[in-house]
């Protein structure tokens, strides 16, 4: 039996892992993948000590720092189920094959990108549709690409794509871009980026790979078709809280409700970072929350003895 299991691979989980190890808790950290949202951000310029650092470089520093500590780590494992046992005193965590028992758990599972919900969206994931520009942008060299979503994330992706793509379109549901002024100015200066406003995506087209899509012009209600070789979807993200949705209280956005000590409504379940209702989803905040969750979990575990 472990003292503490941490689920997640982003800054909240990694920081929790470092603090738990230093408190000498028997700790297991389970990461489906490393880096969380940090790795998706092209450039980080607001993390103290690093004036300007690539998201992936900061994430790599986090990971190697974590691995210098004395804790068990399992990577590439997806947790399927969490259960309470022995009068809710023990938490059991199940993966596809393996399962583990722990006195307390920290949920730091972050966020997952929202999908459009169009019927054949799944079919084209990896076949021209991507949710991760920092991962896949270089594969779309000299191609005509559309970015769905006109917020900061969509704008950043469009700008990133101009390094590779021949043409980049931003498809906005709203009459204009919702991205901040700084990004909008960058977009105005780029000759490669064009904006299609007031548009609703209706259908994707293609055989093996994506070849085009149909959208509705909200003003004229007319359907329009466009040839395209790649689609990046950036319409926000949701809290990845489904593992514990029936065990702890969530808010309306499905974020895990925590108090100032990272406690959820279940005493041995703690939560930290972007999966929680803490305000502002920032790397520095997630890292701080992870540390706090580990220290409070430590206090909880000590009282059990």
């Amino acid at each position: 039996m472990y003292d503490l299991i941490i689920i997640g691979g982003g800054p909240a989980a990694i920081s929790a892992g470092i603090y738990a190890a230093r408190k000498k808790l028997k700790t297991l950290l389970i990461a489906k993948n490393w880096g969380g949202q940090v790795r998706l951000s092209p450039l980080v310029e607001n993390y103290p000590g690093f004036e300007s650092i690539l998201g992936m470089d900061l994430a790599n520093k986090f990971i190697s720092h974590l691995k210098k500590n004395n804790l068990e780590i399992k990577e590439g494992i997806e947790i399927k189920e969490i259960e309470l046992e022995e009068n809710n005193k023990v938490v059991r965590v199940r993966g596809e094959k393996e399962n583990f028992k722990t006195k307390a758990i920290i949920i730091a599972t972050g966020r997952v990108p929202n999908k459009l919900g169009i019927s054949n969206e799944e079919k084209f994931i990896g076949k021209g549709i991507s949710y991760c520009a920092t991962c896949d942008a270089p594969l779309f060299r000299d191609k005509k690409i559309i970015v769905i979503g006109s917020g900061n994330a969509g704008a950043e992706i469009a700008i990133e794509l101009t390094n590779y793509a021949s043409e980049v379109y931003i498809l906005a549901r709203s009459p204009g871009l919702k991205a901040n002024e700084y990004l909008q100015n960058k977009i105005k200066k780029s000759s490669k980026i064009k904006i299609i406003a007031n548009a609703l995506v209706k259908e994707f087209k293609g055989d093996k790979f994506i070849e085009g899509f149909i959208y509705q012009d909200k003003i004229s209600s007319k359907m329009k078709e466009m040839d395209i070789q790649g689609i990046f979807i950036a319409i926000g993200s949701s809290a990845n809280s489904s593992l514990v949705k029936n065990m702890v209280e969530l808010n309306k956005q499905n974020e895990i409700k925590i108090d100032s000590s990272n406690r959820t409504s279940q005493p041995n379940i703690f939560a930290a970072g972007d999966v929680t209702n803490v305000s502002h989803k920032q790397i520095i905040i997630a890292a701080g929350e992870g540390a706090k969750a580990a220290l409070n979990a430590y206090d909880y575990i000590k009282k059990l003895k």
Binding site: E98, T134, C135
Partner: protein
């Protein structure tokens, strides 16, 4: 002569699953050829043709193509027991 296991990983430097996959293989003591498709256009083409996939990571292990970090499949091919 013992047969050397040939592992090729097509990846970009910034994708979370690529890093996790590479960390995993390193931890299990396997060596691999790390192919950065962000730099190498020809390799990017090869990857898309072989896998029918425009997303990373793709790995080629003992001639088999694996899409994403499919741990179950990788464990099977490399006979990794966890």
């Amino acid at each position: 002569m013992t047969e050397e296991i040939k592992i090729r990983i097509f990846s970009t430097p910034s994708c979370p699953y690529c890093v996790t996959l590479k960390e995993y293989l390193k931890e299990k003591g396997f060596e691999y050829e790390d192919i950065n498709v962000a730099e190498d256009k020809e390799a990017a083409k090869e990857m898309i043709e072989k896998s029918g996939q425009m997303g990373v990571p793709v790995s080629e292990i003992k001639g088999e193509i694996i899409i994403g970090f499919d741990k179950v499949k990788i464990n099977k091919i490399l006979e990794i027991k966890e």
